[in-house]
Symmetry: C2
Subunit: 119 residues, 2 copies
């Protein structure tokens, strides 16, 4: 069994994929890019069928990876805003590219691509 914190050689491609992989990360980043700033409930309503657990979990991972910023307003009722960081913004060109590519493939296969659900 390998040690968990052993420093191992890392492939940059793998590294990057892990940082943006996961079921909702791509969409989350894309939403935040298009809306600049979004609150928790707003994100929750945007991503159809996501559970609070998954939303919180995904947001925390993105935050730990330095891709998004979480700003808490200490008031009642609570208010939390999420925005992309500089580093997170650097991923936009690539997600844009991927989105265009995806749409092109979807057209070819006659599957419906719903723009609205992508931000």
């Amino acid at each position: 069994m390998k040690e968990k914190n052993a420093i191992e050689p890392v492939c940059a491609v793998d590294y990057a994929f892990k940082r943006i992989g996961g079921k909702y990360k791509g969409r989350l980043i894309w939403y935040l890019y298009n809306h600049e700033v979004m609150r928790y409930g707003e994100l929750r309503r945007s991503i159809k069928d996501i559970t609070p657990k998954m939303l919180t979990q995904t947001l925390r991972e993105l935050e730990e990876d330095g891709l998004i910023l979480r700003k808490v307003y200490y008031e009642v009722p609570p208010k939390v805003e999420y925005t992309l960081t500089e580093v997170g913004m650097e991923l936009i060109p690539f997600i844009q590219y991927l989105k265009d590519w995806g749409n092109k493939q979807l057209e070819k296969s006659n599957l419906p691509a719903i723009e609205a659900s992508c931000g």
Copy 2:
């Protein structure tokens, strides 16, 4: 329970991520881009610790998605060559971008990025 083949609205970002997600797909595409054509055993040796099961499985998925081409030579001993398709090639700019981004992040965090293991 949802029907498996029901046509549902699809988000292009999600769609694209599924097509290139998975533990080895990014690297596999990147290898094939850099070597143009590779045989099964060559890929197996390149991707350290991948099992034949995972390699075959991943290659088949990429093939079904039209990203790679599998060419069989009917001779003894068997020979099979893998190459990127046109559609697969369209992903290169984006993987390149992601790789550069990954390397930049790795530098910042003082983790070792091994170029060799990325193609």
